[in-house]
């Protein structure tokens, strides 16, 4: 975590924001919510400002917390679930998580910015991922992300572009952004990318 102390501004991916919002009295995401909270608190104390492009906020609204909740309950990713986790529970959990999401956007250390990636930068990033088809680790990558195509979503490519233009590192837990992070950085397509699950809260 100390590696992140040197940055004044850090970009957050949608999954990190979702992990953060899922901390309620009743439940949280196994493994990630607690870690995200500790990380964010640590970085706030280091006077870090979190920067999030507007399209990430729109993506979270579009995917909807309802979909996230259904997926997390199905995959048993939430802790302390009541025996009766029917639709009423899910509806009220969504309401709480949305409330946290709205509160988060009012924090002074959380800044939402308008950002539109240039066509050139998106084309360059798209080209990078397209050429991965011959990369020796492509099968491992596709297995991990569990999708047929190596091309990430537009939002992922736009976040990479945002990170590069603004010189903000990204914290993510998404393989699309993190699996080839060294290659992206090496080719000057992005700033540093940190994968949440690889961050050690106590030693580095």
């Amino acid at each position: 975590m100390k590696r992140l102390k040197i940055y004044e501004n850090i970009a957050l991916d949608s999954n990190i924001i979702i992990y953060y919002c899922f901390k309620t009295k009743e439940t949280q995401i196994v493994e990630f919510t607690d870690k995200t909270h500790k990380l964010i608190e640590f970085l706030i104390n280091q006077k870090v400002t979190f920067r999030v492009p507007k399209f990430i906020i729109n993506e979270i609204n579009r995917i909807s917390f309802a979909e996230k909740i259904e997926g997390m309950i199905f995959k048993k990713e939430l802790t302390n679930m009541p025996k009766d986790s029917g639709y009423f529970f899910k509806m009220k959990l969504e309401s709480k998580v949305k409330y946290k999401f709205n509160l988060l956007q009012q924090k002074e250390w959380f800044v939402v910015e308008d950002y539109f990636p240039s066509k050139e930068s998106i084309d360059e990033i798209h080209d990078f991922f397209e050429k991965l088809i011959v990369h020796p680790q492509i099968d491992e990558f596709l297995n991990k992300k569990r999708k047929g195509s190596q091309i990430p979503s537009f939002e992922d490519m736009a976040l990479i572009s945002y990170s590069n233009d603004k010189h903000y590192p990204i914290i993510t837990n998404d393989y699309d952004l993190s699996f080839f992070k060294e290659d992206l950085y090496g080719k000057k397509l992005s700033c540093k990318i940190f994968k949440l699950s690889e961050l050690d809260l106590y030693n580095n």
């Binding site: 909807s64 259904e70 899910k90 509806m91 009220k92 959990l93």
Partner: protein, 289 residues
């Protein structure tokens, strides 16, 4: 004589249409054959338009109009051998002519169109509107069947007939009807793509279950509670019907007025009846479970 005696008469009159041989055969089909049960449901519903003003209360389910009380009656043992009473005003010849050679898809189309037209009070549904409604609510039904169903209803001038639900005074029966209405709607909305709107509808209907688990109200209060829950279901059903063309994009339908109604319902359950506390973003959800 009760409604069940009229039902026995009606079913015996429909022996060839359904078909069944005797009580044993009827019970076997009722217990083992879903299509047979659907056919009984649709025939009893449609008979309301041919003079049998039966007391069966129909709610809208995934297969069209369905009555939980009718279901309870046809599951009773030795039904067909029970005493029966001729239904005074039913025009069986006309009814038989209407349903002649109809398969379940046709009966489902006709009963759905008539239920929709009654609930939405749309006397003059054009054929194009009717086909669009059926296409959205019943995508599995072929357009040819939908078209013939509309023509058949028009031919018998059924769109102009109003079928009003009778007042339900028996609170136990009313509770069953409310629970059935909520279940029917939940089954429908569960088939929708996951979205916040879908979760709101399903969550607010699931709230009924929690209220029924916790409530111990009686008489007037119980009647008022059931009426409020029933009316809330009716509003959901109307939103579903009203937005038939937007069901594929249900997440974009504006449900603000329903949310306001649900909020009032929660306040009533909490403040007026003291059954459950009112939820807010700081509430501990465990108190509900």
């Amino acid at each position: 004589m009760s409604e069940i005696n009229n039902l026995v008469y009606f079913l015996n009159s429909m022996k060839k249409t359904l078909p069944f041989k005797d009580d044993k055969d009827f019970q076997k089909k009722i217990n083992e054959n879903k299509d047979f049960r659907i056919k009984v449901q649709k025939l009893v519903y449609l008979s309301k338009f041919f003079g049998w003003n039966n007391n069966y209360h129909f709610n809208f389910h995934i297969n069209g109009p369905f009555s939980a009380t009718l279901s309870a009656d046809y599951h009773s043992t030795d039904l067909i051998n029970q005493e029966c009473e001729a239904i005074a005003k039913i025009d069986l010849d006309k009814f038989n002519s209407f349903v002649k050679n109809h398969d379940n898809d046709t009966l489902e189309s006709e009963s759905t169109l008539l239920y929709y037209s009654n609930k939405m009070d749309t006397k003059n549904l054009s054929k194009t509107d009717s086909l669009n409604i059926l296409k959205s609510l019943k995508p599995h039904i072929h357009q040819d069947i939908a078209s013939k169903s509309y023509d058949n209803i028009e031919k018998f001038n059924l769109f102009n007939q109003n079928i009003n639900d009778n007042q339900i005074n028996d609170l136990d029966k009313f509770e069953k009807i409310v629970k059935d209405k909520a279940k029917g709607l939940m089954d429908i909305f569960e088939t929708f793509d996951i979205s916040s709107n879908r979760l709101f509808i399903l969550g607010s209907l699931d709230y009924f279950r929690i209220v029924f688990d916790h409530e111990n109200v009686k008489d007037i209060e119980k009647s008022e509670l059931l009426n409020k829950l029933y009316n809330y279901c009716e509003k959901i059903e109307k939103e579903y019907f009203k937005n038939y063309s937007k069901l594929a994009n249900f997440e974009y339908v504006n449900l603000e007025y329903l949310k306001h109604d649900f909020n009032s319902l929660e306040e009533y359950v909490s403040d007026e009846l003291g059954i459950l506390p009112k939820f807010n973003e700081h509430s501990d959800l465990s108190i509900f479970f």
